[in-house]
Symmetry: D2
Subunit: 347 residues, 4 copies
């Protein structure tokens, strides 16, 4: 039983099959200039209801860091949540790709930014060249605490930064999970709400190496081919990336996978709430469940082979621990059921 | 009347005279390899009671950013206060010189870090290569809110990071002001308390371009000549930098200047406290006074030609403003007296 | 008929099958900490006859740039051939990952460096911190012009830089092709000859994403986990990288594939030499053939669907063109034969 | 007797006096926003016959590296001579400030680039994102071998790069020396010939810290205040920089100083040519003389206290040495005469 992350699971068989099929072609154009890459552009344009420019890259860290480098110069600042993945889990890669650009961080419940907090932070950047020049806003949907921003919430944030000419980035490592949770269209969740560039992640939702940077403000994509190459995010046998993306987007595989993962998270959340020893720390919107439990329970279930991480949290009692559970497209339903049964027995 | 900063004042006449005198030599060795630079090393070793390696640089931003680059690699993190100068007023220069190294920020009263807060923050950096690797701690003395760390407080912070092999940097843009406030020795305030590298600032206290990076852990200085050059912090006619530093350190000019500035700050603080319309926001330890006043008073004194900055502060009433007043070695005492008189008249 | 590059071909079926097999495991440890990654370390240690530390990365550009970042600081220089891949085909990625470290370039026939030229270039770096500090030497084997360095030649170069404490990197994008050409052991071609770190490439020789940085001087690998992460070269579902590498190294797949590619290059070279309209510009040691032909011939065969690149060359006649032909593990032999037949018909 | 560099001499007394005078003002606006800085802008606009934007910086390395960062992104390339100061004497600072941007080097007599060589080099950059994208051309006037580019020659180079949208930078560390040698106007030597941004150096010609980045294409100066700050090139007590520049430009101090230095170089060159043991290696256009002499002569004069550097040169006989002599605004004429007398005695 493994709830540590969605990336401990493998590859959706349909996506793997697409890679095998792509290998049937004796040769193909290399360096992501294959016809498949063009088809990805077209397919994503269709999905987002607008001409986009999409670039296949290697991982979420690369996608985020590259996207930020396209909206923020070396002397600029990108405003983000203090627990955002770009700030805590990418080991300075955003700063590297931006050439020293700064992440300016703020707090906020559920790993979400509030417009007033953002406005207040921005107001501190008025003393000319001494501080970083505000250039970007980055939000994560679904957030690092498994919640979602609604289109209305996104728009409210975008409106704070738009008058300054700043651009908006969305880290969509779990884009599909947020989308099916919201029940809105991809357009509503992105460019219609003010998003300029998106890290469109599929690896966690069934891909092997399945990430793209998607530009809605396509002027930002000028020279992006050079950016992708100079950061080592360009793969030579690109057909295997485009094949993954096309299979992922075909027949709504991506949406179905996300629905399944979200649904398991709901089952898990409800089951945990039923225990008198566990309480949820955050609403469950997507495929992650955050909960507080006694350390003794944590130890007991881990000893029985259930894997999940403890997770930072303020205000715990001495014998408590905060935990993250992630469900995925491939998590066996019976694992959730067995784990809940285990918790019940220990409650 | 100008209390905006200590750097709006000019150069101590003795330091200026030393520069004129240095010009009498027809030629001198360039690029900071002059005999004066060697004398600076010797003189600072004497002052700090230990063999140090000192490098003259161009400004405080350069000194700090270079010092950090010597203790923190590109994938590392330097822990500091969220309002530290390196984080808010150096426009990403630390990140640039560190090659993307991250500043990890914390809150704390008086712009001071508390050991428990630091320890807690560090405890979040245990998930391997996903987060920046902790390499450095940077504290400012006197702090950005005009307070000082005592040697005991510095040691307590150093002891938090030492077991991890981390190094300690002190931003001493107002080093002399802190030193005379504490009444301790330079050694007690630095390496005896655990400081490995110091930005030793003199520009604000009477110099023109008068900054040095001082290594107590001299192994960190290996290749520092290259670091200084490659960051554009090396001056060709270095004799004019060493002349400044030697004059600054001679006959306790540096200490006398700092005492004068601190003393004026005390006068100013006491005078402001006497007003029923002004309250201090922070204890006054060095040459800066932070105070909250009604906007109407702020406007009235500014209209009469008194210059000082408003400064960010949480929890102000709607009609209040938080202000910073800086006194310097050259601030005329009568300006302080006249200003206080003005406040009294307006109270 | 496609001789443009070895990377236009797909994935060796045995390697693809290994990826499919790796997908059978429900979960695996992510971020290249899987058992497969450990097995790669062990297997490469066996192959190189020494304990190595090997890190799977995403592409050759990443492998090279990361390897260089481990041997050269921001103010350092890496000496290399002016036509080396790191200098001409990686769009500043080495400079980015090194944080500004400089590639110092030299000329040399066959894209090979000569010890005397290297020694002479190094002699220009004696004026202290004004120039980059020499830290690394990088050579490519097989070279960008399809030739090989012998172990003796490698040792001669290493001996030039060793007294300065410099480290030696080998770009082995076509390592297997060089190895089978030389008929020596992997140890003889690398660490026994003075190589400290190797970019071990397999993508061009049958992999999909199949590259590793291999450290012989394992002290250089300290903190490499952080380096890999902060450059965006870490893949979450790492099992699919380790599976590729293990399959590649099993049953001498890598050597057999390289032998086949090299052998086809010999066939091609001999056939071209037989034409009175074509002459080879370089000896053919590995799987690349470089030849000079009339533009009319170039146009004629391209018009018949043969794909290959023109390539920079000095001293061509006005109607001549210099061309590169690459053969791979998967190039159909009949394509070579048909192409040579075509040339004969046009001669 | 010291001919090692123009920067071993001190500061022109008129410039030093201007600094002393600037100190008479009790306070001034800091961070190079003083009225003096505005006057510099106006004065340079007058001198160049066009509205320029000028920024005072700390040194030539900073000026060059900052200027390049304004014309070349991280994935770009700046084309320059292989012996240019930016390539050989700035220890990777250009690469640092450009965020990894590459210097693409070429050979050429007299440290000058030829249009055909430049065009040929550029022709190699047509394979898309694999190589750096050409963004800038940098030339030095006077060159590192003491020669000058004429306006016609500059225009010929600019015309090679202009059709690609590339920008032209001039390193004017010895701008005045070149200008008085050419006898043309500042406009003719710069923007009229196609220069977009200039490093305008005065330190070597009588200043202490006297360098400016001057933009003729003023759109390039957007955000330059941030660039200057984030690279540590911003000085707080900026009045002492503007005072230097204004004094330098007043009453043609800069031109007179350069004429004097150039004239001494002519005397020195003629004297050396008269010796049967010395031959000039390059025409003498400005204030540097390059000559080849027997090592025995070199040793003999150095033993008598004459200081000058040996300098790299190809094709020397075994007993020969190539040397550089630099004259400055302050070099005593009798030193030149005495040295020539010494050479005569030893010939």
């Amino acid at each position: 039983m493994n709830f540590t992350s969605d990336n401990v699971y493998g590859v959706d068989p349909r996506i793997m099959q697409a890679m095998v099929a792509a290998n049937a072609r004796l040769t193909d154009v290399s360096y992501c200039h294959d016809d498949g890459a063009k088809a990805v552009d077209a397919r994503l344009s269709e999905i987002f209801g607008r001409d986009v420019r999409a670039f296949l890259v290697v991982n979420g860290t690369g996608a985020n860091s590259l996207a930020l480098s396209a909206i923020c110069p070396t002397y600029g600042g990108v405003f983000c949540h203090e627990t955002s993945h770009i700030n805590t889990d990418e080991c300075n890669c955003p700063e590297l790709f931006m050439g020293g650009g700064k992440l300016v961080t703020m707090a906020g419940e559920g790993a979400k930014l509030a417009p007033a907090v953002l406005a207040d932070k921005l107001s501190q950047f008025g003393h000319g060249e001494h501080g970083a020049k505000p250039y970007g806003l980055s939000i994560t949907n679904a957030t690092e605490l498994g919640m979602v921003y609604t289109p209305t919430e996104i728009r409210a944030l975008a409106e704070v930064v738009r008058p300054r000419g700043m651009k908006v980035h969305m880290d969509g490592a779990r884009f599909a999970n947020a989308l099916v949770s919201l029940g809105c269209s991809p357009a509503e969740m992105t460019w219609e709400a003010g998003v300029d560039v998106l890290s469109f992640g599929g690896t966690k939702n069934g891909g092997m190496i399945l990430e793209a940077v998607v530009f809605f403000d396509t002027a930002l994509a000028d020279d992006f081919l050079y950016r992708r190459k100079r950061t080592g995010q360009l793969v030579s046998k690109g057909r295997f990336l485009s094949a993954q993306m096309l299979a992922y987007l075909q027949d709504d595989v991506w949406l179905a996978n996300a629905r399944r993962a979200n649904s398991l998270a709901q089952v898990l959340a409800k089951g945990l709430q039923a225990s008198n020893r566990v309480r949820l720390s955050n609403p469950v919107h997507a495929n992650e469940v955050f909960a507080i439990m006694p350390k003794s329970l944590f130890d007991a279930v881990q000893a029985r082979g259930v894997r999940f991480y403890d997770w930072p949290w303020d205000g715990l009692a001495a014998d408590e621990i905060h935990c993250r559970f992630v469900t995925s497209f491939a998590t066996p339903e019976e694992h959730v059921i067995q784990f809940l049964q285990m918790v019940r027995e220990l409650s």
